[in-house]
Symmetry: C2
């Protein structure tokens, strides 16, 4: 775990360098406010550890790790907007549109998405290698029309409706799962993984993403607002269909453990170099927020 | 001009293929509604003609031409939102958030930006060549933190303020000029242009972008709502500083012609293959909307 702490420090340092304020300052302030608000840095850590698991170097994967966090943050800023989830709090602080204003929040999200590609393309042009194009393609698709965004579209469209278990899974596999899969696959690709390994990473990502979401649903009913930094029981209040509302708390917890174990079994197959990735995924089972 | 008509038809065909509805249909409907609303296709035409001017083929540049139109449309959808310009009409039809709803408009914009990169990365991975990475980098920067988005940020921030001529130029050079420069440069790069030629295309783009914006300012006071498909005299109503309000109509018209001529002089330097590009830029001086 102390290694993860160092990783997160390195990620935060790199992110803060990328987001150093310049003209027009307000937009960099808004981007920095949201990106530097803390958080687990789950996606960038997965990029770096998957890259290591495939035998690659942190420095090659770092721009992609930071890009993933920028994309994740842009999606949170836009999700929080009044026209979407209308959330006032995120990680215990006012959301971007509350701290600044709506126009700034829309633009900060747009900027972060664009800046993620600028960041990856800087690396891809100074160190021209097909693996970077492949990694960008995976990230573009899984954050876009083959992942996160379509999951979000169906999620918004399902609000207040009694959706099926299939639709719930579609939402989570894409909305949360998209970026987590992209992180593991892009990290592996940059580390030099062959196709079979990338496929294995994809399936690990699928499991980790689903497990992560089930845990979120569980914490919403078992944690406190102080620990989570956001209101609890919000799913019930918003009449949201979740794993807990569909299957009950006990079955959701069982499913969570089953999927986590499946991810760990597959990570073992990646061999010795994937030990830090294995430990990290194992550590996620203990998360309390 | 008949050649431009064919070009626009080809662009529209390609865009409509890219945006063919699939699950979740609503977001493709919203993207298609805004992208296929007509418009001059200025940016994609410039990509294709700059590519031809550099000796390249339309088929190589087409994904980038379409990506430019997706990025342009995403920026219009987000600009029209209630928190931004709060416009109800665009090209004579309800804006995206009026036709659908705000959440859908925000997501349709996000999707179009992401999809633009998916589209370019598809081409860049099936036909691996450094020129595509270079073109993507130019487009990412000039639509992002080195162009369109920072121009838009300063524009939003200037609303209701008496801004200086320098700030007005910063806004236009970036907000409108960013994508037009990117179109010409990316087209040239894909066509195989050397560095000097790309620099010349950049300077042509600078002029065309500025001329385009001055013309917009002029049309806002000299045209009719029927011809423009949007309200006239909106700049005055919104107390917006424009070239016309700063310099008066006559001087704005003179400046428009001076800059257009500078663009045409530079286009001549590109030689015989740039004749269609020259004719197209010349034709822009006649535009009435």
């Amino acid at each position: 775990m102390s290694d993860t702490k160092t990783l997160i420090e390195n990620i935060n340092k790199a992110l803060s360098d990328y987001l150093e304020p310049r003209y027009p300052e307000k937009i960099y302030e808004a981007m920095g406010y949201s990106v530097m608000a803390g958080g687990k840095r789950l996606r960038p850590v997965l990029v770096l550890l998957a890259c290591r698991a495939a035998g690659g170097k942190d420095e090659d994967a770092m721009p992609f790790a930071c890009a993933m966090e920028m994309i994740h943050t842009y999606s949170l800023i836009h999700d929080d907007l009044p026209a979407m989830d209308n959330d006032d709090l995120r990680r215990g602080r006012p959301t971007c549109h509350k701290q600044f204003d709506e126009a700034t929040a829309i633009l900060a999200g747009d900027c972060l998405l664009g800046y993620a590609f600028e960041t990856m393309l800087d690396k891809a042009s100074e160190d021209f290698d097909k693996k970077y194009v492949k990694a960008m393609k995976v990230i573009a698709q899984l954050s876009g029309t083959k992942g996160m965004l379509v999951g979000q579209v169906v999620d918004v469209d399902s609000e207040g409706k009694k959706i099926s278990a299939e639709t719930l899974e579609y939402i989570h596999r894409n909305k949360t799962g998209g970026l987590i899969k992209a992180a593991l696959m892009a990290g592996g690709i940059i580390g030099g993984a062959d196709e079979d390994t990338v496929n294995l990473l994809e399936s690990i990502g699928e499991d980790v993403g689903l497990a992560f979401q089930i845990k979120d649903d569980i914490l919403d009913v078992t944690s406190t607002a102080e620990v989570l930094g956001k209101p609890i029981l919000s799913d019930e209040k918003n009449e949201k269909v979740t794993y807990v509302s569909l299957y009950g708390l006990e079955k959701a917890q069982q499913e969570y453990l089953r999927i986590t174990n499946s991810a760990l079994e597959n990570t073992k197959k990646l061999g010795e170099a994937a030990k830090p990735l294995y430990d990290y995924i194992a550590s996620l089972t203990d998360r309390i927020k």
